[in-house]
Symmetry: C3
Subunit: 157 residues, 3 copies
């Protein structure tokens, strides 16, 4: 099944890829050989606002899971903009998930499941990735979650 | 010398590779080309418990060093499960070490030496890696240290 | 234009590459295939001291930006020591920037621009990288910023 069909099946509409604000000069993603390195993305809602707040204080686990899911969708939109066609994904290789949280919060992995579950539901075995999930002092503009990814792709056909 | 012989010489018995708990769907490691990306692992003791606590508060430098060493052993067990034979290691390329600590703690690198020293004692020059070591607000279930690795391997013979 | 000429044009003198202190056994950088993984570096001044302090408390945004710029220069010095000639850089692939800051600090990305702007001013399009920028509880010896990089290089000619 094409990834785009599976997206529809899951009821996910990919938003336009995030535009890096004009006062920043880095890019959403860089491809080197058959690896794509995707910049840290945040939990951007369809209306352009972001989920902000701190796990263990402002946000509960469900809200964190949903934020991580939104973040994975943002990463996918940037990946699609970078490689043109999500069917080129050979493997989601690695996620690094940063969770904005209190010192006592022990559940960064359960928060990050919001990203991991989406990727595996979408790509199946190709979506099963290595991962780290850690708790952060602070994230850009107080967003709840930031995720970066490494993805293996097939050559363009 | 075979890596397994060197492990014995160092008095290290590799534990069975960590089973990712069933409510998590990521995997221990992913191989892409000749690189293995190893998930963030924690300081799991032989009895299955983990070293928890915060450097600069609950744990001193020796305890942190030992926790990082345990974490590297966990990574090696997962690496062996992924590639079958540790003699396939061409180079330990990169470590990223997360240390659970207070705001005042300035010694994440000395903690992480527990992982680095083990890898270099085991692999010699092949074990000399690039590394970052940073201090974290929170880690999963309050573990003291989390380490992820990138490893270059030779093709299976 | 050769990168070294562009460095002169920008008024940047690369310092000698940082010597990893003798009680640490990791290395500045490791090359695997055509990728160089550069260890986390800090904001080392020409006199050998480092910029220390916490954004949102001891240091303002300009000081953080300058610290990130110094850190990028340190990374470049290590990159040159590793690959011999900076003209071999094909692409700055990925930066991971750690900013020592308070819980309320929302500007890790603006701090990290100090590193990103330098790399893009120096390498042009080849310098446009993927990036994550996050806020940290603690960094080694209280340094303000730590940056690690992945760089694609051309084979030695």
């Amino acid at each position: 099944m094409h990834v785009e069909d599976r997206l529809k099946e899951l009821g996910i509409e990919l938003p336009p890829a995030w535009d890096v604000p004009s006062d920043f000069r880095f890019v959403r993603a860089v491809t080197t050989g058959n690896l794509v390195f995707i910049s840290g993305h945040g939990p951007r809602r369809p209306d352009g606002t972001h989920v902000t707040g701190r796990l263990g204080e402002d946000l509960d686990l469900d809200a964190g899971y949903e934020a991580a899911r939104l973040t994975a969708i943002q990463c996918l939109a940037s990946l699609k903009a970078e490689i043109g066609d999500l069917d080129r994904v050979v493997r989601i290789v690695k996620l690094l998930g940063f969770v904005n949280c209190t010192e006592k919060f022990g559940e960064p992995p359960r928060v990050m499941n919001g990203a991991s579950d989406l990727l595996i539901d979408l790509f199946g075995e190709r979506g099963r990735h290595a991962r780290s999930a850690v708790g952060m002092q602070a994230l850009p503009n107080g967003i709840a979650v930031e995720v970066e990814m490494v993805v293996e792709i097939a050559p363009a056909s």
